[in-house]
Symmetry: C2
């Protein structure tokens, strides 16, 4: 058991173990976005840091089939100038506005680096989607193209630069698509630690193995921070989901089928 | 304007500027508790770190007149052993249990130090108490004895040790007392940055000055992380509040009266 799994297990109760926790049709999620853990200062501008911190948190709400409404910001900041704080603020506010989120509070402290903690309070749309719900025979799918985030990370680690809209800088969330397929799927989670790792969590939770329908390369399997969506559905919903994907121009990759058995994660984890 | 005030101002809306934000009778609060900002590793055991991180967050809920119900934990941790994680966990779980809180989720990452971010979701009891509400003529009061936290900090900074129940290690919250006086007071906040600093926030927010009824020494004025409560009430409620304080054996210090005018904070802030 790795450390995160150990800690998750230590605090396990019926509410957690998903991207968000649901209470009375509200979803609560919290993700950390820390300098030298998730990003290096030279890789992202202050506005990009704030924007990505918001997006990775909003992603959790979306995959629970919830609409983000409010945010609390925990900001641990080094000695930034007022001008720099305004640029950081712009990233938070623009992203909040885009998703209809009101920033309702939080905490700010001095720190030796930029460490951001965000809590998103989101409203469930009809019914929540959980990681649990996968049944044997269900098709496993992910959205978009995986691998770009890891490729971007490698470019940055080698001193290169990325385009402003590169997935590593600004993840592309699939809210409209996901909200529309939600009634037809059995479970979902976002891909933050790499498809292989996140798939193993999904399969373990549902006590399933997998029959692979496609060969996936290492970039697809091990690229973290993609914020594409891993989900599953009964074969009977396939046509409907394909239609919705077409409508939203979202690439749909059906790569496996849940089976009796066990899937062991034995790849590398996403850490730099 | 100092940096925290600048940032608070940058994100200001009608919901924030209090210890918690209220939406539909729920209160949402978030405080950071970071190594080398709020504590040093040699000052607190892992259990004490977790306990204090919880208490400073629960304090925010209490002074809004809310009962804490749920918590999200953001844990950025260095490479701790499983044994150490269990000790940390004990601090979270014992404190959560004591206050009837369920830990519903969060996020865990590796980091170079122990940085904790907690979100508390609490239920308002009848009506929320805000920082706003002070009227000219209201009496200003604080609970307990201030200064102990700063004295403890000085002892630690000089290499000394503190008793396990010292306020700097384990703040004493006044939940039962506060819930009982809440219907009779006009405003409140916890004393986290020192009475002088927090009083200035309260007075500025309510556009009031102060007539001092007592001379307060520097330890009383400038000791942060006390988590005693600063509050105000109409003189007509004085007897009732004194009775409730007596019942709960809480020392009540009526030290000033809100007046027309302006209070300027010009002391030192609480940072080590």
């Amino acid at each position: 058991m790795n450390k995160e799994d150990f800690i998750i297990h230590a605090f396990l109760n019926e509410k957690n173990g998903d991207d968000g926790a649901i209470i009375n049709q509200w979803c609560y999620s919290k993700d950390l976005f820390f300098e030298n853990v998730h990003f290096k200062r030279e890789w992202l501008s202050l506005e990009q840091i704030a924007t990505k911190a918001m997006l990775v948190n909003i992603s959790d709400a979306i995959v629970m089939n919830a609409e983000p409404k409010y945010a609390l910001l925990g900001l641990a900041l080094p000695n930034l100038s007022n001008e720099e704080i305004k640029i950081l603020q712009k990233g938070f506010l623009k992203t909040a506005k885009k998703f209809g989120i009101k920033i309702i509070g939080g905490d700010t402290i001095y720190n030796d680096k930029i460490d951001i903690s965000i809590t998103i309070i989101s409203k469930i749309r009809k019914k929540a989607i959980f990681r649990k719900g996968l049944k044997k025979g269900h098709l496993l799918a992910y959205t978009g193209n995986l691998g770009e985030s890891l490729r971007g990370l490698e470019i940055l680690q080698n001193g290169g630069k990325l385009n402003l809209n590169h997935r590593f800088i600004k993840p592309k969330l699939r809210a409209d698509f996901f909200y529309e397929i939600a009634p037809f799927i059995s479970c979902a989670m976002d891909i933050s630690d790499g498809l292989s790792k996140d798939l193993s969590r999904l399969l373990v939770k549902n006590k399933c193995g997998i029959e692979w329908l496609k060969n996936l390369d290492d970039y697809t399997l091990y690229s973290g921070e993609e914020y594409e969506i891993l989900f599953a559905f009964d074969e009977i919903q396939r046509f409907k989901i394909e239609q919705i994907a077409k409508k939203h121009r979202v690439k749909l990759n059906i790569f496996g089928k849940a089976m009796k058995g066990k899937y062991e994660f034995n790849g590398r984890e996403h850490h730099f």
